[in-house]
């Protein structure tokens, strides 16, 4: 018995290890199941979870496209997060392709302890938003992510962008630290937390989370088109 006992223990640990790995993989991929089936071309509406509502974010939100669009995409993003930077051109392309059929909302979700400039970048975009130039600033910050993310002080860089897009820079400098801007970022974050957002980019399409692996243009296009088709059938 004593000779075989260690082998029994080792096998038991192996079993527990494999079992927990299997369980964790399954629970991590659960929300992806319905969308995975749609990307392979099988429309399975019954398997879809109910759309999430969550608490409201900053009002009014910054959106592209028509409010009456059949497909509504909401992104929670962090300007310093590299995958968000990679997702930015994909979203621009979707906006171009679908036009008024797709409404895009951007929500601030700066991961402050992880990314030291994320909050400054979010504040810069929101401050530009107070002068009606949110998307212009948003685009510049994402497009130049690699130029500023490793810098020590990003304020002069963002001020340069503010000047480039024609903002009243003095007002921008005042607004960036204002209560309004802080409150908007806080409210977007609150909405994100209520929807279970833990990382960025997290994208919701008509209230349902799009799995991370479906964010490349080809699979995202299929999902958006399906929402538009579904709305047409109703």
């Amino acid at each position: 018995m004593k000779r075989t006992l260690p082998f029994i223990i080792i096998l038991a640990v192996l079993g527990v290890a494999l079992g927990s790995a299997w369980y964790m993989t399954r629970s991590a991929s659960q929300p992806t199941a319905p969308a995975a089936s749609t990307t392979s071309g099988v429309a399975n509406n019954q398997a879809q979870p109910a759309p999430l509502k969550g608490v409201p974010g900053a009002e009014p939100p910054y959106t592209l496209g028509s409010p009456n669009a059949p497909a509504h995409l909401e992104e929670f993003g962090d300007y310093q997060c590299p995958p968000c930077g990679m997702f930015h051109p994909i979203l621009q392309q979707m906006h171009k392709e679908f036009g008024d059929k797709l409404q895009i909302t951007f929500r601030e979700f700066p991961l402050t302890p992880a990314h030291q400039h994320a909050l400054a970048a979010a504040s810069a975009a929101e401050a530009a938003g107070l002068q009606g130039r949110f998307w212009e600033m948003h685009d510049l910050i994402y497009e130049h992510q690699n130029d500023w993310k490793d810098k020590f002080d990003v304020r002069p860089i963002f001020e340069g962008y503010a000047k480039d897009i024609g903002l009243d820079v003095e007002r921008y400098k005042r607004d960036i630290g204002s209560e309004v801007v802080a409150q908007r970022i806080f409210l977007d974050g609150k909405r994100g937390h209520s929807l279970g957002v833990k990382g960025t980019p997290t994208v919701f399409l008509n209230g349902r989370e799009v799995p991370f692996e479906a964010l490349p243009a080809d699979s995202l296009r299929v999902l958006i088109q399906r929402e538009i088709n579904n709305a047409g059938n109703r």
């Binding site: 004593k2 000779r3 006992l5 260690p6 223990i9 080792i10 640990v13 192996l14 290890a17 927990s20 790995a21 964790m24 993989t25 991590a28 991929s29 962090d78 310093q80 997060c81 590299p82 995958p83 968000c84 991961l111 302890p113 992880a114 990314h115 490793d150 833990k198 990382g199 960025t200 980019p201 997290t202 991370f212 692996e213």
Partner: protein, 138 residues
């Protein structure tokens, strides 16, 4: 005997950590940015994969190896105890390399990777104590 049992117990922590990292890696959760700084940068870097196999999975296998060998050694299998020392030392050297990569190449630290390095360091200390004490009485 006691040293082997503590090595087995410590290696279980490493095993759990490595399994968690493997799942994060395989499911793609790691690619997203999260409040836990650095793990996305580290796990999505080219260093996180060796010949198509996630590094975390190799780590899990190594910790499982340490657990198996120290359990066998605790039950009196001498050869297992002999194999344990080089395995742990190899893992320690590898951990040093990984910390170097995180600090100077990737410029981001992943807490779960650092935890693994700490576990490997603890295992190294245990194994070295075993080596020193095994020699003393003679």
């Amino acid at each position: 005997m006691r040293l082997y049992l503590s090595a087995a117990a410590v290696s279980l922590l490493g095993l759990a950590d490595a399994i968690y990292l493997t799942v994060e890696h395989v499911t793609g959760q790691s690619v997203r940015c999260t409040i836990i700084a650095g793990c996305s940068e580290v796990l999505s870097s080219p260093y996180a994969v060796v010949a198509g196999v996630p590094l975390a999975l190799i780590g899990a296998a190594a910790y499982f190896g340490v657990f198996s060998l120290s359990t066998l050694a605790a039950f009196g299998y001498r050869i297992a105890g002999t194999l344990l020392t080089p395995l742990v030392l190899l893992m320690f050297l590898f951990s040093l390399w990984l910390i170097y990569l995180q600090a100077f190449v990737i410029h981001a630290f992943c807490q779960f990777c650092l935890f693994s390095a700490a576990i490997t360091t603890a295992l190294t200390v245990i194994v070295l104590i075993g080596v020193i004490f095994a020699r003393k009485p003679r």
